[in-house]
């Protein structure tokens, strides 16, 4: 339990660093560390498949995409943020911590519990039989993403020809 809370605190700290650090590369790396910690939390929650996806895809692939984009947009660091943003963040964070704590405490035992019970079968059976429609939707989303990226970059090539 204590380890889990330390991991959750680490996840929040690195997520906050990801948005507060001015250097975009450091921000992307903080996000990767946060994903890694989330993967470890998933693993400790007995969700190894979600953990593997989180670590390999989010901490790996998405970080690479972010760093590639940062490298291609060299002047990204030059965008000036409002001065108050970083100064006001701890104040708003503490306020939200108090509100969040109070809300969760008041909701404790009051939310009607979701029906719970041990599941039958294996992960493969649940994924391929119960969630078949989700898989079809996933294929559609991936195709839409690929087509969108192709369309975005093809347009630039046409511009160059002109």
């Amino acid at each position: 339990m204590a380890i889990q809370i330390i991991l959750l605190c680490g996840l929040v700290i690195f997520s906050a660093l990801a948005i507060l650090l001015k250097d975009l590369i450091k921000a992307a790396l903080s996000l990767a560390v946060a994903s890694l910690l989330l993967g470890i939390i998933f693993f400790r929650l007995a969700a190894p498949y979600a953990a593997v996806f989180e670590i390999s895809v989010v901490a790996g692939l998405i970080t690479v995409l972010f760093i590639l984009t940062i490298a291609l947009t060299k002047k990204g660091d030059e965008v000036t943020e409002a001065r108050l943003v970083k100064l006001a963040f701890p104040v708003f964070l503490i306020l939200f911590l108090i509100i969040d704590g109070l809300v969760m405490k008041s909701l404790l035992q009051k939310i009607p519990a979701l029906p719970s019970g041990p599941e039958a079968g294996t992960f493969g059976e649940v994924l391929w039989k119960q969630r078949t429609f989700d898989l079809v939707a996933q294929v559609g989303v991936i195709l839409a993403g690929v087509l969108a990226v192709l369309a975005l970059f093809r347009k630039k090539e046409e511009d160059k020809d002109e």
Partner: protein, 102 residues
């Protein structure tokens, strides 16, 4: 067991708050997208933690995996858009997008 669920929901809400704060206050497009990623981490945590606490971890895992795949497609498309916006405006300042002309 229920207390554990609220602990995870507490941290998930905190992550969503951090992301929303960044989305509302920052101007760098890449930072805004990092904020979207932070929000999505909060949502993933809520899904998997709820599944683990309610003994529905297999279903929660399959939903989390679907969510991660959708997230990757979103990231790829959005980063391609950001690169195109940068090539057009030579800046990642989101305020410049308000000057777009039809």
């Amino acid at each position: 067991m229920s207390n554990l669920w609220f602990l995870y929901l507490f941290f998930a809400a905190l992550l969503v708050f951090i992301g929303l704060y960044c989305l509302l206050t920052m101007r760098n497009l890449i930072k805004l997208f990092i904020a979207v990623e932070v929000i999505s981490k909060g949502v993933s945590l809520a899904i998997v933690a709820t599944g683990a606490v309610k003994n529905n971890i297999l279903l929660a895992q399959s939903l989390a995996i679907t969510y991660i795949v959708v997230e990757v497609a979103l990231v790829a498309t959005a980063l391609a858009l950001i690169i195109n916006i940068y090539k057009k405006n030579k800046s990642l300042d989101v305020r410049l997008l308000s000057k777009l002309k039809g």
